[in-house]
């Protein structure tokens, strides 16, 4: 067990570069030409790391042009930090190469697992909140930060089930990981809302219990709505619709506490025109402007 008790004790450099405290958009290939032509005014772009783990071709050609003009966040979906097995060193090497090439202002990953044995499941699967999992997650984040030589942001999960064996709350778990590894927090406000509805938690209390001074980025997205077997609301983290009003309200509450923070609008399914996404970005930018004068943590 090599988890360090103090932040930065693993030789990870200080926080390093940070994203501008503005609104960013997920970069969609169908929008890139328009963005380059129109010189879209936006704080930063975010891409999924795994989409760019290819040798060459148009993906790199266009991301290089985007990176020359904009700040960049690289968001991983395949490291499987919550895995029972060790972090895949080949994948970590691919990631290191990508970060080296694009020098993004932020790198983030999920509190979830997505690979087991040889298989990759392409979903963010839930973990129990107990001591054994805590130790393993810290070990994995230590390894990632050591290999990448940078601080990563860990994203708050959205989940649909809980584990009988969990012995601590999700916020306790996340807070302890941050304390032990020195990683930052990617506060996905939609995920917080989705999980709080799905597990009957209090969203305000959830936010209160997190170390907000560690937040390096916020995610906003839309959810889909379903019901469980007893007819209670079950929200699905689908990224295919506009941001819900309840999520906007919670986002405003967070900003009132933290001041302005880099904020990403995520849309991964049923992708609309760039103009539609820019309108949502405008709405978030308005809230950021309202809170840009609030004293900030840290």
């Amino acid at each position: 067990m090599t988890s360090s008790i103090l932040p930065h004790a693993t030789g990870v450099p200080d926080h390093g570069p940070t994203l501008p405290k503005q609104v960013g958009l997920g970069l969609k290939t169908q929008h890139i030409q328009q963005i380059l032509n129109e010189k879209t005014d936006i704080g930063f772009f975010e891409v999924h790391a795994e989409n760019y783990m290819v040798a060459g071709g148009p993906f790199h050609h266009y991301l290089t042009q985007i990176r020359q003009r904009y700040a960049l966040s690289i968001h991983g979906v395949g490291l499987s930090i919550g895995s029972e097995q060790a972090i895949d060193e080949n994948h970590l090497n691919r990631l290191a190469e990508l970060l080296d090439r694009y020098q993004p202002q932020a790198f983030s990953e999920h509190l979830a697992w997505s690979s087991h044995d040889e298989n990759f499941y392409n979903d963010l699967l839930p973990i129990p909140y107990d001591q054994a999992t805590l130790a393993r997650v810290c070990e994995h984040i230590d390894r990632i930060q050591e290999r990448l030589q940078r601080r990563m942001l860990l994203e708050t999960p959205s989940t649909y089930v809980e584990f009988c064996q969990s012995s601590m709350s999700e916020t306790d778990f996340i807070s302890t990981v941050i304390k032990r590894t020195g990683c930052g927090l990617l506060l996905d406000v939609n995920n917080v809302y989705v999980s709080c509805v799905n597990h009957h938690w209090d969203a305000q209390q959830y936010i209160d219990e997190l170390p907000l001074e560690a937040v390096g980025e916020i995610h906003l997205a839309g959810f889909a709505e379903d019901h469980d077997s007893l007819g209670e609301r079950l929200l699905i983290d689908a990224h295919g619709t506009p941001i819900d009003n309840a999520v906007w309200t919670l986002y405003g509450d967070v900003l009132a506490r933290t001041g302005a923070l880099p904020t990403l609008i995520e849309r991964d399914n049923d992708i609309p025109s760039l103009a539609v996404l820019l309108a949502e970005a405008q709405q978030a930018q308005g809230l950021l402007a309202q809170h840009s004068l609030v004293p900030e943590h840290a």
Binding site: E50, V54, G56, G57, N119, Y121, D123, L125, V161
Partner: protein
């Protein structure tokens, strides 16, 4: 001790009949299996979507319902082994060849191979290519030509099929009238990324032999001999001009010295 729960969840994600893992709970006592079904559905449908993205013409040839049913069997049997999904589906064509419901469409697997080759070409490495000025000098010396070997761009692939794979693919791009395509005509396809666009070109049997020989590191003259043996009227010049023009040649060497 929690070791092992991911093994049980993994099985339950892929196998339709596998029961929902017992260690899950819900705040209100609602059925955990119906909530766990969200994960099952995400895994299977997102991987089917990944295949649909990589094989759009295959999908059009069989229709959405058939494609998704076929893909869901493939996904459960052969889930991806890497988080890099651009490479997912390398064995999908082989699967189609033995998937009983697809036996009525013998050309399907080779069309899928063409689509996968296009994806590979799209993401292949960026390598500097040789312009006409570099090659003109070397090509002007007949003695050197004998021993010349060409290195082709990493995106370049040649597909040989007993079916009209290029015409079928082109028909679904709106380039060819599908009614005029006889799927049982043998065709050879050249796949190549020219700058940012992947081109699919129908080539002759002789040209396919020639390119195959070059890819196997045979000297240019020898590759041309194979092509002429197959097709006496084979004319190398327009093919070579096309390869140069589209940036398909990245290096040449004369005997053992590389340029």
């Amino acid at each position: 001790m929690t070791m092992g729960y991911q093994h049980e969840l993994s099985n339950a994600l892929l196998k339709v009949q596998h029961p929902c893992p017992g260690q899950l709970k819900t705040w209100n006592g609602s059925a955990s299996d119906s909530r766990f079904a969200v994960y099952r559905n995400n895994v299977i449908s997102s991987l089917i979507n990944a295949l649909a993205d990589n094989f759009p013409v295959t999908l059009q040839l069989v229709g959405d319902e058939f494609f998704r049913a076929m893909a869901s069997v493939f996904v459960r049997e052969f889930p991806p082994q890497s988080p890099v999904l651009a490479c997912y589906g390398a064995s999908f064509a082989r699967f189609m060849e033995v998937f009983p419901p697809a036996q009525g469409l013998p050309y399907l697997a080779d069309v899928a191979r063409l689509e996968f080759a296009r994806i590979q070409a799209y993401h292949s490495a960026d390598v500097a290519t040789l312009g006409p000025e570099h090659l003109a000098q070397a090509l002007a010396d007949p003695a050197a030509l004998e021993q010349m070997r060409l290195t082709l761009h990493p995106s370049l692939a040649v597909l040989n099929s007993p079916h009209a794979i290029v015409s079928l693919w082109a028909a679904h791009q709106g380039h060819v009238d599908i009614a005029r395509v006889n799927p049982n005509t043998p065709e050879h396809g050249l796949i190549l990324r020219n700058r940012m666009e992947v081109e699919v070109l129908q080539i002759s049997t002789a040209a396919a032999l020639f390119l195959g020989a070059l890819m196997d590191s045979h000297p240019l003259a020898e590759a041309a001999e194979y092509a002429i043996a197959c097709e006496p009227e084979f004319d190398l010049t327009p093919l070579l001009a096309h390869l140069i023009q589209t940036g398909a040649i990245t290096r040449y060497s004369l005997s053992n010295s590389a340029a």
